[in-house]
């Protein structure tokens, strides 16, 4: 009984609640993608834009943003996505996305890399990057 209670502890409602958006470089012609496509990009299953260029993915490791992204976009816990990326490294299947520390670093990187994609808080959006709507 104690074990069952411990397993059910940690309700979904206790998650953090930052509004997360995807951002790309202004030179990227896309204005939106499906949720499924976004998920496949951040799981490294989809590695090329429809126009053929390699996608450079960046993960925002700021705790609140990262947790919200995992929950809202990937439908995973923070630990599940962390382990997913580490599995790629340690079983030889690939190199996981690069990690940055906060919204500013993500925006700087996306602004400088034509084929990059990242995620930030909605209120952090500025003219350096372009919003990519999830349809």
């Amino acid at each position: 009984m104690l074990l069952l209670l411990l397993m059910l502890y940690g309700a979904p409602g206790s998650c953090l609640a930052a509004e997360i958006i995807l951002v790309v470089n202004h030179d990227n012609p896309l204005t939106g993608i499906t949720w499924r496509a976004a998920e496949r990009i951040f799981l490294s299953k989809k590695t090329e834009w429809t126009q053929g260029e390699h996608i450079h993915v960046v993960v925002n490791n700021e705790p609140e943003v990262y947790a919200s992204f995992c929950r809202d976009i990937l439908k995973k816990t923070s630990l599940q996505y962390l382990l997913y990326r580490k599995k790629m490294l340690f079983n030889g299947s690939g190199i996981p996305p690069r990690v940055m520390n906060n919204d500013e670093e993500v925006k700087d990187f996306v602004a400088s890399a034509k084929d990059a994609i990242g995620f930030i808080r909605q209120e952090s959006l500025d003219s350096r990057v372009k919003l990519l709507v999830i349809r």
């Binding site: 940690g10 499924r36 299953k45």
Partner: protein, 407 residues
């Protein structure tokens, strides 16, 4: 030997003491250096498990370092060296865990050549990295530690890719072919040598001994003739649901004192897999059958499928704390569950193994993980006589604690 141990110790200290930003060396996604180290303690009651574990052992560790170099967006080179010690085996000898060249033509088609992990079930490709899974031991019915060397990696290649099915989700596939290079100092090797000599001793004392058989052999080897298979993981349009099927076939030739004495053939080994995560709960279940044939000195010593399945429920109580419950069941012969395969009378084997496991995992941070677990087992299938020469107990238990570091 001494030099090797010193090298390992230096590597471990270097790994553990290096500051994090330096340790995980990333250069613009072009070059990445990562690693891990773990140290555990294994204890058991009733039977020895994987080592002389009655009374406990600290000879239970792994350490590994991997390097990835991305030459272009499509071309990558990667490799991982590691050493491990499990009881008297492994001896922290450095070996290549995997090493490959990877070229991804498209999302749906790529090729990896070299020493490539065998994608059997959900977890076989990461069984060397303790921190990647909820419990210390993977379910033994599917991921039998005594045959770890058999199913770990193959020299050859694989075709792989991810195919998007739009509204129907997507699937990952792998098709592989190659050969396994067996380690000469594995527990399976020494156990096989002991089993062959036991059979030869039984022959000498039988009422009608075969005069053509030797009384004793000094060494045995096995060469893998081939291994091929496929792995398919389907992600339907249901969040965090994965369905998989794996298939493997392989054949080994066995030698004793450099003379061929038999064959071991996996006619077909398939595993069905299911993984589903819902918020803080994660459910994994797999069912497998390994249909194998073994001949030794022109006698078929085993022919037929085993049966293996497990269900594991894991809950993340917090972002760092998780609990797991496992039920794991194994039958040595799917079609005959009543008798003891070892009829010699020396080895009191039950042909089943039913394992209830309870585990806890705590992630101190992104780099450090500690885990503990306890298993209550009915049945002695999969236990090695090698470690239990005086016979086995039907009811027994084992447990472990382990700390892992990765960067």
């Amino acid at each position: 030997m001494q030099l090797k141990k010193i090298t390992i110790i230096i590597l471990a200290i270097f790994t553990l003491l290096l500051p994090m930003p330096l340790a995980a060396y990333d250069l613009n996604e072009k070059i990445q250096l990562h690693g891990f180290a773990s140290q555990g303690y294994l204890d058991s009651s009733g039977n020895n498990f994987l080592s002389d574990s009655l009374g406990g052992t600290f000879d239970f560790n792994e350490i590994g370092v991997n390097l990835n170099v991305r030459f272009t967006d499509k071309l990558r080179f990667g490799g991982q060296i590691m050493s491990r010690k499990m009881g008297n085996y492994g001896d922290n000898r450095i070996r290549l865990d995997w090493g490959l060249v990877d070229y991804r033509f498209q999302d749906w088609a790529g090729v990896r050549l070299g020493k490539v992990k065998i994608p059997l079930g959900l977890y076989n490709t990461e069984r060397d990295s303790d921190f990647l899974r909820p419990m210390i031991f993977l379910p033994q019915s599917i991921y039998d530690e005594t045959r770890r060397d058999t199913w770990l990696a193959q020299w050859g290649g694989e075709l792989y890719g991810n195919v998007a099915l739009d509204a129907f989700g997507d699937f990952d596939y792998k098709l592989f072919y190659g050969r396994i290079k067996y380690e000469g100092d594995s527990v399976y090797h020494d156990s096989t040598l002991a089993n062959i000599n036991r059979r030869l001793a039984d022959n000498l004392t039988s009422p009608n001994p075969d005069p053509l058989l030797p009384s004793h052999i000094n060494q045995c080897d096995r060469d893998n003739d081939y291994l091929y298979g496929a792995n398919l993981i389907y992600s339907p349009p249901i969040e965090n649901l994965r369905l998989g099927i794996s298939y493997v076939s392989q054949k080994d030739t066995s030698y004793a004192d450099n003379v061929k004495i038999g064959e071991y053939k996996t006619n077909s080994y398939f595993v069905f897999s299911l993984e589903y995560a819902w918020w803080n709960l994660s459910l994994s279940a797999e069912y497998g059958e390994n249909d194998r044939t073994q001949t030794l000195y022109d006698v078929t010593t085993f022919d037929g499928p085993n049966q293996a399945w497990y269900v594991m429920l894991t809950s993340s109580a917090t972002d760092r704390l998780g609990f797991s419950v496992l039920y794991d069941e194994y039958w040595k012969d799917k079609y005959n569950k009543d008798y003891s395969i070892h009829a010699s009378g020396r080895y009191n084997s039950t042909p089943w193994r039913k394992d209830w496991g309870f585990g806890v995992r705590y992630d101190i941070n992104e780099n450090w993980t500690v885990k503990g677990e306890w298993h209550i087992v009915d049945g002695s299938a999969l236990l090695l006589e090698f470690f239990n020469p005086d016979g086995t107990e039907r009811y027994w238990q084992y447990g472990a604690v382990k700390a892992s570091f990765n960067f």
